[in-house]
């Protein structure tokens, strides 16, 4: 056996499985259940707070607390603070809508994408479609049941879910970093003919926002190997909660001819 063959076998042992997205969500819920209540503030479930409310409070904190380079003790310029504020507002949805986000990119030469629909109000039902280097799949959760679609067998696998999902879409990290302060406006740029604001985030990522409507357009994500993967935010929109739009949250509604298989929860 060659070294390459052995390495291939080792990698196969740890290779992602099609059910991993379901597992990811199940453990995510379990971790969420373990989270302590915040100590310094009034007990107030995060999921009951609108993004707009979080954003407004966080913006105020950011403007007051953040140390901006070159700004001395006076903080960021009013123009930069306004850019951050507008960018945050543009990606902060109100309650009782469905957020739809689609991100695409290329990683290791392979096109990747994630598309996500989620309610901004409880139970924060969601559906996502992920196409990655090593895995792809479709999964959802309506607060009581987790769903995974197996395209190979045209089967929807249902698993009881002990808690509702949290409200975290694919650009939550960007939103969070803008809200918490520490984001720095690094000027303007032009990407694919579109004028954008360049904002550096404390995580090392760089987010770009359209200069006309402040919608997120691109995110540069530094990788562990030093490379940078640029993802394009193809879609960021807020949908109504009409019956037609709510169908977008349902895995079974999207695959009405699929066989439905019910199984027990994978995580005890």
């Amino acid at each position: 056996m060659t070294t390459e063959e052995l390495e291939r076998d080792l990698e196969m042992l740890a290779a992602p499985r099609e059910a991993d997205e379901l597992l990811r969500m199940a453990i995510r819920e379990r971790v969420g259940e373990q989270m302590p209540v915040r100590r310094k503030r009034r007990q107030r479930p995060w999921i009951g707070v609108s993004w707009a409310g979080i954003a407004a409070a966080a913006i105020a904190a950011a403007v007051l607390a953040v140390g901006w380079p070159g700004g001395g003790s006076a903080g960021p310029s009013a123009a930069d603070a306004a850019i951050v504020r507008h960018a945050l507002q543009a990606m902060t949805a109100p309650a009782n809508v469905i957020v739809h986000v689609k991100e695409t990119g290329v990683q290791k030469g392979t096109p990747i994408s994630v598309e996500w629909w989620q309610q901004t109000s409880p139970p924060h039902a969601l559906r996502m479609i992920k196409k990655g280097v090593d895995q792809q799949g479709e999964a959802g959760n309506d607060g009581t049941t987790a769903y995974e679609y197996d395209a190979a067998t045209n089967t929807v696998i249902e698993t009881p879910s002990s808690s509702a999902p949290t409200l975290v879409d694919p650009i939550e990290t960007v939103r969070d970093q803008l809200a918490r302060g520490g984001a720095q406006v690094a000027g303007k740029a032009t990407i694919d003919g579109t004028a954008v604001y360049k904002i550096e985030l404390p995580t090392g990522a760089i987010a770009y926002f359209d200069t006309t409507d402040y919608r997120p357009t691109y995110i540069d994500n530094p990788q562990d190997d030093g490379s940078v993967v640029r993802t394009r935010v193809e879609t960021y929109e807020e949908l109504s909660t009409s019956p037609a739009d709510e169908q977008l949250l349902s895995v079974t509604a999207q695959h009405p001819d699929a066989r439905v298989h019910t199984r027990s929860a994978p995580v005890k």
Binding site: T3, L13, I27, G32, Q34, G67, T203, D224
Partner: protein
């Protein structure tokens, strides 16, 4: 700013420029923010565990334990090393705890359920079982390095930072581990 304050305590060495520091601070202030760290590391931790634990259900449980433990203990993470190093140490301990328990390992059906036919499934299962058995014969430190490399998919530089060794040293150790495995693990012909 809090981020800078923690960063300054680690500034002298480049290896301490932990890309997760902002997320760790955020998670301490607001536990829900831990989910960003969870999302970042789920695949790597699961891969790490899968390389060291044969049974898929146990892998799932261990992965869950790793993250719930990290959440519970994140207030004790001091930033002396990287968050990744701290997290994989938790994973290492969780795997060790599993190995200490006497268990009957069921067939890892999930690992091969998408193979095209029964014979290939059987062969793949046998091959995976054999390789897992050989990995289990390595020393714990060797298993840890192997899982960081082929399970978590980390590079030599990253592993070096986690285990406190130079990338070159990690590369040499890994070469020895692979050669040892290669001698004992025959081709399935």
């Amino acid at each position: 700013m809090v981020v800078n304050a923690l960063g300054e305590t680690q500034a002298p060495r480049a290896r301490d420029a932990d890309p997760d520091v902002a997320l760790v601070i955020a998670a301490r202030e607001e536990p829900r923010r831990f989910l960003a760290l969870y999302d970042r590391y789920f695949d790597r931790v699961l891969g790490y565990v899968r390389l060291r634990v044969r049974d898929e259900a146990t892998c799932e449980d261990v992965t869950s334990v790793v993250f719930t433990t990290a959440l519970a203990q994140i207030g004790r993470f001091r930033g002396d090393g990287s968050f990744a190093g701290w997290l994989f140490q938790i994973a290492r301990n969780a795997v060790r705890d599993v190995h200490r328990r006497p268990t009957l390992e069921p067939l890892p059906l999930d690992a091969t359920r998408f193979e095209p036919d029964a014979e290939e499934r059987f062969l793949a299962h046998e091959r995976a079982a054999r390789l897992h058995a050989e990995i289990g014969l390595l020393r714990a430190e060797q298993q840890h390095l192997l899982a960081l490399r082929y399970g978590a998919g980390l590079g030599f530089n990253e592993i070096g930072e986690l285990v406190g060794a130079s990338p070159g040293t990690v590369r040499v150790r890994m070469h020895r581990i692979i050669e040892e495995l290669r001698r004992r693990y025959p081709h399935d012909d």
